[in-house]
């Protein structure tokens, strides 16, 4: 019972981290209709910049400065890259961000090399906040929860209570009309892209110390972020939140509790062959849930796309 609570907290941390990435991505998608393949690369840049800054000014300055730099870089990419490619259509846009992701990974390796960076949790947070039945919850996790919830509330406030937020919200539903009303849509685009990538940067800064900072970190998280917003419904912020938490909890629980394919197959009425060595399906019979935990979201996405192409909460087709 206590373990369930612990896993709920762990899943929440994973889910909220995912949300910080998917929130920015889904905002960008809603505005510009482009899936930014390089989104997780900005997350990686956030971690590396913060590491570099933390060497000189400490972790907290890294947390403040790195996302700003990442956001500025994102805005530049939008202004000088994406806007240029936009005229060729959506597929080249997607391909452009795909190439950008490759390029950023190579650049990171060019600058920082291929090894893991010794980017660590600040000493002030290196204690366990509380423990449930012998399972320590590190203070840093609590800190991560607070940061992400704080950002979520901030985002909600900006989107619903400010003028800029209203324009963005309007653009989510009626992009053409907003343009017709005379708002400087390109500027809004650049701003949203910058803020979205800055959010990814924040996620990188706080995730870097726990999930390790290495050149492959963008790839590990990259496609899962897409999966999240596709499951949640493209363009839906609340969908992104639900899907993030869902994925966080599904993967955590699948790892924490060992469910066997054998039990499942027997339960639906198959009989386990006596001699497994010759059977083509022998590896299917021995599958366990921790083995496939991090692949489950992909399965979920394919199923959702087949049966409900606009995702859980989406209103429009991709």
């Amino acid at each position: 019972m206590e373990l369930i609570l612990v896993n709920l907290i762990d899943g929440l941390v994973t889910g909220l981290l995912l949300f910080m990435l998917s929130a920015g991505l889904t905002l960008i998608f809603s505005m510009m209709g482009v899936l930014n393949f390089a989104h997780a690369s900005f997350y990686m840049l956030g971690a590396y910049f913060a590491y570099q800054i933390s060497l000189f000014l400490g972790f907290w300055m890294g947390l403040l400065i790195a996302p700003v730099i990442v956001g500025l870089l994102g805005a530049l990419v939008e202004r000088y890259g994406l806007r240029r490619v936009h005229q060729y259509g959506h597929v080249p846009e997607l391909i452009f961000t795909f190439g950008l992701a490759l390029l950023i990974e190579e650049l990171v390796q060019f600058i920082w090399g291929k090894d893991q960076m010794p980017y660590t949790v600040p000493e002030i947070l290196q204690f366990s906040a509380f423990s449930i039945a012998g399972n320590a919850i590190p203070a840093y996790k609590v800190f991560m929860i607070f940061i992400s919830v704080g950002i979520f509330i901030g985002l909600l406030f900006v989107l619903t209570r400010t003028r800029v937020g209203m324009v963005i919200q309007a653009a989510l539903s009626y992009p053409r009309t907003v343009e017709a009303l005379g708002h400087n849509v390109p500027l809004v685009f650049m701003g949203v892209f910058g803020v979205g990538t800055a959010l990814a940067g924040v996620a990188g800064v706080i995730a870097g110390p726990v999930l390790s900072t290495f050149p492959g970190m963008a790839v590990v998280l990259g496609s899962i972020v897409f999966v999240t917003i596709v499951i949640g419904g493209l363009g839906s912020l609340s969908g992104a939140l639900v899907a993030s938490l869902l994925i966080g909890w599904i993967t955590t629980f699948a790892k924490a509790y060992t469910l066997r394919m054998e039990d499942f197959l027997s339960w639906i009425g198959f009989h386990k062959p006596v001699d497994m060595s010759e059977s083509l399906l022998r590896d299917v019979w021995t599958l366990t849930s921790p083995q496939v935990a991090d692949i489950l979201p992909y399965l979920l996405m394919v199923l959702i796309l087949v049966f409900r192409p606009y995702g859980l909460f989406g209103k429009r087709d991709a």
Partner: protein, 427 residues
């Protein structure tokens, strides 16, 4: 894309002008191994041929059907696995199946898998198709390490191509014999893919890409058109997989993972999706870059990334697009006008690029080479990477080159404009 174009294009199929590129291409393939005789050259040419088939099949989706797939390697890998299993069956049961027909089995298996997946993934185009292809690609790649019985785990499945019955006395012991087998399949599949793009289904694929609604109004189900293209692409990807299995006698997880899917997208786009021969160019250039550039520099992938992003931004038509831009000046007989401005602009730009690359190499060496290992060699010159002079030279060359190129660019633009304007015509 209406019926009239369909009819008007058909008689042209067998003309000399249409057949000439194919004859030249085949002749070229025949002669190549006489020019480059070393085994490694033949290995690289084989790799090129396989990549060409694969890229052409990918372009059936991306270029002709407008479907962006992030999981096309799945079909190639599946075909390859099936083919290598067949090779083992031939060995184990002494089946009288000659090696040269094996790719067919790869193709059929790839087609079968494509039919299953296409049945649900081709219902929508655009982002949904792309995302399903990503998900399916990720799932099958994950399965390939889990399900050892078929995929052989991370070691893959290996076979021996020489165990089949000899064909006209050839046992495929040598690279050169495999080369001719591959070349034969290359020509055959390229021709078939070209003909497919000329069939009504192939034409309708273009129509559905450009305007699915209008195609629907014409009475075509855009879903079925997409499905047919998808299945055909799966078939030819499977053939590429079969050729891979024959060449390397081993197929592993890397043949169907997302990296492979990503690189075929890169190859096809670099070559140019708008023209049939684009992917061929892309495959040749990419294979050369991969085999040759990677011997020269450690950061070749960075250059590749830069090249790719630059292509998407400035030449969305790819290499083939750039080449085909010149047909009009040639037709007008004005291509000569371009020569001087090209030399005046592109030469400095090239020098600038080489300078930049040199600077990057020095920087990389400075950051990542062992301490004390100061000497590096670049462009056949050895020097101390820690002194200021070399990098200053590189930067100056780069700046100078680009400045010259920029200064001469308006001239090129004028010449370009002039060369594309018919005599006496108003621009």
């Amino acid at each position: 894309m209406t019926d009239t174009t369909l009819h008007s294009s058909q008689p042209r199929l067998i003309t000399l002008g249409g057949a000439l590129p194919w004859l030249i291409g085949s002749l070229f393939l025949l002669v190549m191994p006489q020019v480059f005789t070393s085994n490694s050259a033949i290995t690289i040419m084989n790799q090129m041929a396989i990549t060409i088939v694969f890229a052409l099949s990918y372009n059936m989706l991306l270029g002709q059907g407008g479907m962006l797939s992030f999981g096309h390697a799945v079909y190639m890998g599946m075909g390859g696995f099936m083919c290598v299993h067949f090779m083992n069956y031939i060995e184990d049961y002494s089946l009288p199946i000659p090696l040269p027909v094996l790719p067919i089995f790869g193709g059929l298996f790839g087609m079968g898998v494509a039919m299953i997946i296409g049945s649900f993934s081709t219902r929508k185009a655009g982002t949904i198709f792309a995302m399903i292809s990503l998900g399916v690609g990720e799932l099958i790649a994950a399965c390939s390490v889990i399900i050892v019985a078929f995929f052989g785990g991370e070691e893959g499945v290996s076979g021996d191509r020489t165990m089949g019955p000899p064909v006209f006395g050839i046992e495929f012991l040598h690279q050169i014999e495999v080369y001719y087998l591959t070349a034969f399949w290359l020509v055959l599949s390229a021709l078939l893919m070209y003909l497919f793009s000329r069939t009504p289904v192939g034409r309708m694929a273009n129509a559905v890409r450009d305007n699915p609604e209008r195609a629907e109004f014409l009475g075509y189900s855009s879903r079925w058109v997409r499905f047919f293209s998808f299945v055909a692409a799966g078939f030819f990807a499977g053939i590429a997989g079969g050729l891979f299995a024959i060449n390397y006698e081993i197929v592993t997880e890397e043949n169907l993972n997302l990296v492979q899917s990503g690189s075929i997208l890169l190859i096809t786009f670099l070559g140019g999706v708008g023209f049939f021969f684009g992917p061929i160019l892309g495959a040749i250039v990419f294979t050369l870059l991969q085999s040759v550039l990677s011997l020269q520099t450690e950061i070749w992938q960075l250059y590749l990334g830069l090249l790719f992003v630059a292509t998407v931004m400035f030449f969305p038509g790819g290499l083939a697009g750039v080449i085909m831009m010149h047909t009009l000046p040639f037709r007008l007989g004005k291509a000569r006008l371009l020569l001087r401005p090209y030399v005046k602009t592109l030469l400095p730009a090239l020098i600038g690029l080489l300078g930049t690359a040199g600077g990057m190499e020095i920087l990389y060496h400075l950051r990542h080479a062992a301490l004390g290992e100061n000497e590096m060699s670049l462009y056949w010159i050895s020097f101390d990477s820690h002194s200021v002079l070399p990098i200053a030279i590189c930067l100056l060359t780069a700046a100078g080159g680009f400045w010259l190129a920029k200064r001469n660019a308006p001239e090129l633009a004028d010449a370009w404009h002039e060369a594309n304007t018919p005599n006496g015509g108003v621009a």
